[in-house]
Amino acid sequence: MGTVNEPLVRLDSVELSYDGAPVLAGVDLTLRAGDFVGVVGPSGAGKTTLLRLALGTLRPTTGRVERARGLRVGYVPQLETVSWSFPVTVAECVLMVRSDRWLPWATRAERRAVTEVLDRLGIAHLADRHIRELSGGQQQRMFLARALLRDPQLLLLDEPTSGIDVATRHEMLHLLGHLHDDGMTILLTTHDLNGVAAHVPDLVAMNGTVLRRGAPADVMTPTVLEQTFGAPMDVLEHLGMPVVLDRKRHPRRPVVEAP
């Protein structure tokens, strides 16, 4: 898993533009072994771009991205990007990641490894199902299983809480918490502010650049959230955790209709 505090990925003064339009500017971020970081921000804030820079599938326009030598990365993509009509079963999908083998059929050891990782995530009974037959939460677990089969040092997840219901969102974040407890370094992006505030110890608020990094209580403040999302938000404390309220959904003053 890497020595704790050893830098795995470092973004140094990173700028990135698509067709001349800046997406990220002045991004400095270090991800160390043992970190469990959640990136929050509005749509178009550059969260997925940040993830792809850390993955190495994008190169910065200026600045540097350094990765630890020989870093093994497990990547869980957004469900929206997946071709769900593709003819693969859950087991076939998970086994894809062992692409270094030159023959198509799985060895006994590989079959055992697939069963173990699916069992660990509670979906071993779905191994022969087509990927489209799974619920959103099961689909997330399947891709997490595929990422874990690589025995990664760093786990990157793009919106792992989107496309799934509230209870499954919390299960997913619990599961990631357990993986972190086992020593896994994790970086995820999400729109679920309250979910990450409750489950993720280290948050990054960004909108084109990193605006704040710290514990949930330091990042989930009205000032940082308004700066990040461009809209006023209220933050309550519940059981010692910040709870974010969207003012549009929870107006401070009741709306009184004219007689």
Binding site: S83, S85, F86, V88, T89, M96, Q139, D165
Partner: protein
Amino acid sequence: MIETLLEPFGYAFFVKGVVVATLAGALCGLVGVYVVLRGMSYIGHGLSHAIFGGFAASSVIGLNYVLGAGIWGFASALAINRVSRAHRIGADAAIGVITTASFALGVALLTVFGNRGPSFDAALFGSIIGISTGDVWTLVAVSALTVAVVLTRYRALLFATFDPEVADVSGVRVARTDALLMLVLSLAILATLSIIGVTLVAATLVIPAVVARMLTHRFATMLWLSSAIGALCGLVGMNLSYHLDVPSGTTIVLTGATVFALVLMATGGRGLQRAPRAAVL
């Protein structure tokens, strides 16, 4: 009835034609799985036209037409793949521009310099009697190469087809894998052109794979099923070609289209529908 059906098997050219059509069908069925699943069904149509340009250019400069058209087709396939992967324009537009320009160049070269190579009528529509021993050996060699590539690069091809971005960060050399697939595809089209023809080869790539997709949701099963359906269409289509006295390419494609219609009716197009999104609370 039986005697009538068996009659053409008394002719050596027909037996050779049946063997080649069956093998060509299986080869196109196998490669077609990747073409269909990558959403590049139009590529077969486009590439065959691009390869026609290669035929013409080879004829003009006196180069071996298999080599010349092969290189031309591979270069076109790489260009299409590169342009479509870049997402700036869609694969359909990339194919439309690159391959029709290549076809037009081929027609222009033949018009100006004349045809000094093989029959271009056969190249356009396929021919039961135009199959040379060289065509047979080319097809056997390309089929063997394709099976070897699919077997040895099975997981990399599958991963790069299903999810190229994750494959790339998981150790698959996606650009190299794509290039390998494009090479195999170009060779498959080139090797089957003489029997199926430029204008119809796309259907032999697409129909067996689409039919197989309606019958299974397993990738490995789809590969052999598509090959078997392609082989069956080649076998039946070649027999129909003899009895109906029409070009072999047309009967092979019409056989495939009939199988497609029957399976579509039986399954309701299962496997071809877009996936419903997972429920969101």
